[in-house]
Symmetry: C2
């Protein structure tokens, strides 16, 4: 394991990181599971514990793995509490931060729009499930979501299963389809509410709304979800830390 070529040099810990990621993609360890101990991985990959450590550190920094001292290292899961809200950056301005209630509006199957095709790197003619739902904070509508999921990846997604699931959408996709979201890119604009959205959100048409477009990625940076959220921001804000 010492062969390191000078041009296009790749550190050992980086190669280990890739190997671990491949095991995650292959489903060798599932969300919530403990992965083997650092010593075990070191002996499996024939490197020192320190090198495995550095690879795991990187993955933990990306919230793909979670370290727990004295217990082990675990595959991050959307089922765990405190992780369910990981991608939700819109929160009420009031101090009380309660997880929003979700109301499923519709599920349909359709040809993917061009933009979805492009962003999710799908073949022309691919179909997607289009899910519409409403999130409410303290009983009042806050976010109207439209979610596009490739049918090929989420075969047989059913309205009933979705409706009966408790918890976040990503928790559902993880437990039902083994697809775990690890990262997302968002583009945000301010738009005027159209008739349909205004009615759903309980505001006047033309009310300014936050429009949050998102592409979410799973292991190996594969894009697997497109989503557009329309948010009423009179009593909520999109919160972000920049450094």
């Amino acid at each position: 394991m010492k062969t390191i070529a000078s041009p296009s040099f790749r550190p050992l810990y980086d190669q280990i990181k890739i190997l671990i990621t491949q095991s995650l993609i292959a489903g060798e360890w599932r969300p919530g599971d403990a992965i083997p101990s650092e010593m075990e991985l070191a002996s499996r990959f024939q490197v020192s514990q320190g090198t495995v450590r550095k690879a795991i550190d990187a993955l933990a920094g990306e919230n793909i793995l979670v370290r727990r001292q004295g217990k082990g290292t675990f595959v991050a899961s959307h089922a765990q509490e405190r992780t369910t809200t990981r991608f939700l950056r819109v929160a009420p301005d009031s101090a009380v931060t309660e997880y929003p209630a979700s109301e499923l509006l519709s599920v349909e199957r359709a040809r993917a729009p061009d933009e979805t095709l492009r962003l999710l790197e799908l073949r022309a003619g691919s179909t997607v499930y289009i899910i519409r739902r409403l999130l409410k904070y303290h009983g009042s509508p806050a976010i109207l979501d439209e979610i596009h999921l490739p049918c090929a990846l989420f075969k047989g997604l059913e309205e009933d299963a979705l409706r009966n699931h408790k918890g976040s959408m990503y928790g559902f996709l993880e437990s039902q389809y083994g697809v775990t979201m690890i990262r997302a890119e968002e583009h945000i604009k301010a738009v005027a509410a159209d008739e349909f959205s205004a009615a759903r959100l309980g505001v006047a048409p033309l009310t300014p709304l936050l429009r949050v477009d998102r592409v979410a990625f799973t292991y190996g940076d594969r894009p697997v979800e497109w989503r557009r959220g329309l948010c009423v921001t009179t009593e909520c804000s999109y919160i972000n830390e920049v450094s």
Copy 2:
């Protein structure tokens, strides 16, 4: 340096990190400067190179220091290219990403509003400079900023100096006052343009705008700037990565 008490245990590298931060606060090394080599710091603090390394790694991860292999470790500066745009998350949707032109509208001195007092942790009655400016992408107005800076910290801030400065606001504050921003918290809402803002931004009143409220922090997490930006998002987006 080996005395470690069990309750409220603090790793050595964390203590080293604090010592380095204190040197930054004291101005021992200025933005753009190289800090001493890892070996030098290790001998100064009487710890191993590895421990210094871990402290520097953490600070580099926070974009407070910048490592350059073969050259040394440097204090991050807003004067460096590629760093000037660090806090600017609003960019044109067109591929061409050119730094926006800034037009200074006004500079005045006034009692700080209550919200600014609270967020910047100022004593009641403190005064702030209130700066208004307009950022333009490709010649068309995109962002209308209102910036509050404590007078106590930025003594004698002059309109002329500000107008003559080339480059970003944070580059100006760093070079003129030795205050370097390292982090910011933003709260974003969608609002309707008022008469004044609409006129400045060249849009119709009631046009939906992105309102980005920001508190910026310097070394030691001290809040030193409040800012509100109103953005036209017809051809721009606020871009964010979440993980």
